[in-house]
Symmetry: C2
Subunit: 432 residues, 2 copies
């Protein structure tokens, strides 16, 4: 393939002439000099052109070119400590590929969120969204690498499933050749079956919750990475959660410094995300809440506000274990030391972000599991395959789900989850 | 975390005592010696125990233990050229974790496909399925690495979309808060928008086609990796396809030799998958078909049978370019040299496997694109955001979709796509 030059690698070309292909992201004029900000998807760079450096015709064209027009510019790369990014390009030739026909909708003035969301396909071109979504791709890669480098097998679990494992109220339903199908909310039950075949597995894909809640933490369609490990107990699961999250943060810190700078992220807060993370029980968490003047009764599930209070108690992610049986699904293993609680563990991100991971050790005994399922009204006939995982070589095992967008929102330090995915799906928001 | 020993790493422990945790996959008895085949998800190994090496009680238990019971065995690892895998373990201690309660459904006798598909959650424990799905995970990782190492940004495109881009007959529909939503068949249109923001992008996720066809090449729910590149033409797209597929095959060859051996795959056929791949036009392909005695009229789309014939003409994947306008979607760019055809390219796998990749250069001109969309009955109002990609800085660009399961089916040399995904979704098959 032909040689391409990217702004992201511009430091490699110091002193050389390059041709950049991209879009006009900004312009200011200082008399007879134009300062063009050009972006090509790998970065932003300042290009400088004086009248006389290029044909008059192209100089005039560049002077009036609408924002987000596409262009090719050729020029010499030079380190310049005053330039944002440390380099600039002195243009000796330019070509407009396609002039934007109309005034670009997103300008320097403040736009309301609904307007920006309606123009999400263009909003993602701005430097802040660029930074968030580059961090997202790095965080996903770090998570996948964590598992791949430790011998986990990625086994994609189905999205279309015939049954609703945790109730139908938040499920999307569709017609599958004259039968009802539901969009998966989690790959966990299938993961348990694949873990019995492959030992250490994970799935990474979209999940769907038709929740009518409008919070800054919820997406209707979100991405999850869910590992499941055979011959693992609650302590193993906590170790994996801790290592995984620490590695995701460390990778973003080492590879996405410029993007974190664009977001003005508090780097110190991220640098504290190192093992060991605090580990407290649900009962201790309830005590903490009450001590913090946030009254909470033992037995209930933590809401977003409770998690926010809790997560401010720690300077790094904290793991809360042993939730009451009543607030966790049927598949959670009993705590052998306290029959009121389960071997469950959620991880709360600090700085008020709340739950980013949920999981635990799974119930191993087939008879008790079936009894729990009947109690919870799970349609047993449809889950015979799941019970088979306990009938044929049951083992202690566990896993968890990590919500990609929740982690990205926290790592980026942004106030709302909607910016952490390219095209968010929310209550009353399915476009573009 | 505690030290774990895996069969996959057994060569590292030659001469050492290890404890393996896994399942009983086979057993034969030679008088006073038991040969147990144990699997732990990372591999299979033969464990040998003589009466007297362990307590009589556990020896009897092992002698009668149902298949797929879970167990821990401790013993010394020794290289043994006669053993499958090259090593065996001489057991000095064993513990049954959970005896399988019933006779394991899958035995050495021949089972029909419907029976095996009904027991897919157990079938994946057998060595052949183990091999296929390990190859799948390696192929996916190789594809992702190809793009990650070249600076592509992974940007997940939405599954729930408000509109049907290529007709509604093969779409799954669901209710999205009182509005119709459809499950995505491709991330391409969204990729085009993200490519204008990030230059080189890809998405990797599930896609859905409610097709009532029952062939060995179709899944209702399948996984696709779809790159899209700004400032790229048809030749660039072909180069990327070729490099990507060659790298996927090379990675499987180098990392999954034992699994390919389990499948008795013709390695020579895979080793020939090196660039350059043959590149022929649609018109040349039509000539080839007719010369091969397979009558075909210029202008129609190739069916599965035509692709099979074509793909047997080459010893490696072949790229067919410039399909007629009528058989390709509205977004394909015109061939400037022949207005009957488009700048499209499909890749056909050899050995009769047929199409594994489809893509091309996208139409750049906003006015012509909109006219094509109107012609095809695409609801223009819903696609204003897509047209914005041409209004604001249009650039030559292109991409393609690679069907993960089709590539895996071909690399594995298996006759049907249903074994290339953990839990296949097909016509009349949504369980388990």
């Amino acid at each position: 393939m032909r040689q391409r030059y990217y702004i992201g690698d511009i430091g490699d070309y110091d002193g050389q002439e390059v041709t950049l292909e991209g879009w006009l992201a900004g312009r200011r004029s200082s008399g007879k000099i134009l300062f063009l900000q050009v972006r090509d998807g790998t970065g932003f760079i300042q290009c400088v052109v004086g009248r006389g450096d290029v044909d008059d015709e192209i100089f005039e064209e560049l002077s009036a070119l609408p924002m987000e027009s596409s262009l090719r510019v050729t020029g010499c790369v030079a380190a310049d400590s005053r330039a944002p990014g440390g380099f600039e390009v002195s243009i000796v030739g330019a070509e407009v590929v396609s002039a934007a026909a109309l005034e670009y909708p997103i300008t320097r003035k403040e736009h309301g969120v609904p307007f920006l969301m309606d123009h999400r396909h263009l909003w993602i071109r701005s430097s802040r969204q660029f930074a968030i979504l580059r961090i997202r791709t790095t965080a996903i890669r770090a998570a996948k690498n964590y598992f791949d480098s430790r011998g986990y097998v990625q086994l994609d679990t189905p999205i279309l499933t015939p049954t609703a494992c945790e109730g139908t109220t938040t499920l999307f339903e569709t017609n599958y050749f004259e039968e009802s199908a539901y969009l998966s909310q989690s790959g966990q039950l299938y993961n348990e079956a694949t873990a019995m075949a492959f030992g250490k597995v994970y799935c990474l894909g979209p999940a769907f919750r038709a929740e009518k809640s409008k919070t800054r933490r919820h997406l209707i369609e979100f991405w999850q990475i869910e590992p499941e490990v055979a011959f693992a107990d609650l302590d193993d699961i906590m170790d994996i959660q801790e290592e995984l999250v620490a590695e995701m943060v460390a990778t973003v810190l080492s590879e996405r410094g410029p993007e974190l700078a664009i977001l003005e992220r508090d780097i110190d807060a991220l640098e504290r995300v190192k093992a060991p993370f605090p580990r407290i029980t649900y009962s201790e968490a309830v005590e903490l809440l009450n001590k913090a003047g946030h009254s909470f009764e033992w037995g209930g599930d933590f809401g977003a506000e409770d998690e926010t209070v809790l997560s401010r108690e720690f300077d790094r992610p904290a793991m809360v274990t042993r939730y009451p049986r009543a607030v966790k699904p049927f598949y959670m293993e009993n705590d052998p030391d306290d029959d009121r609680v389960t071997l469950s563990v959620d991880m709360l991100a600090p700085e008020g972000y709340g739950e980013i991971v949920g999981g635990g050790q799974r119930m191993m005994d087939a008879t008790e599991l079936e009894a729990r399922m009947r109690e919870d009204g799970v349609p047993i006939d449809d889950y015979q395959w799941y019970l088979d995982t306990r009938r044929y070589g049951a083992v202690p095992h566990g896993g968890f789900g990590l919500g990609i967008e929740r982690v990205v929102t926290w790592i980026c330090g942004i106030p709302h989850i909607r910016e952490s995915i390219p095209f968010p799906r929310m209550l009353n928001r399915m476009r573009p």
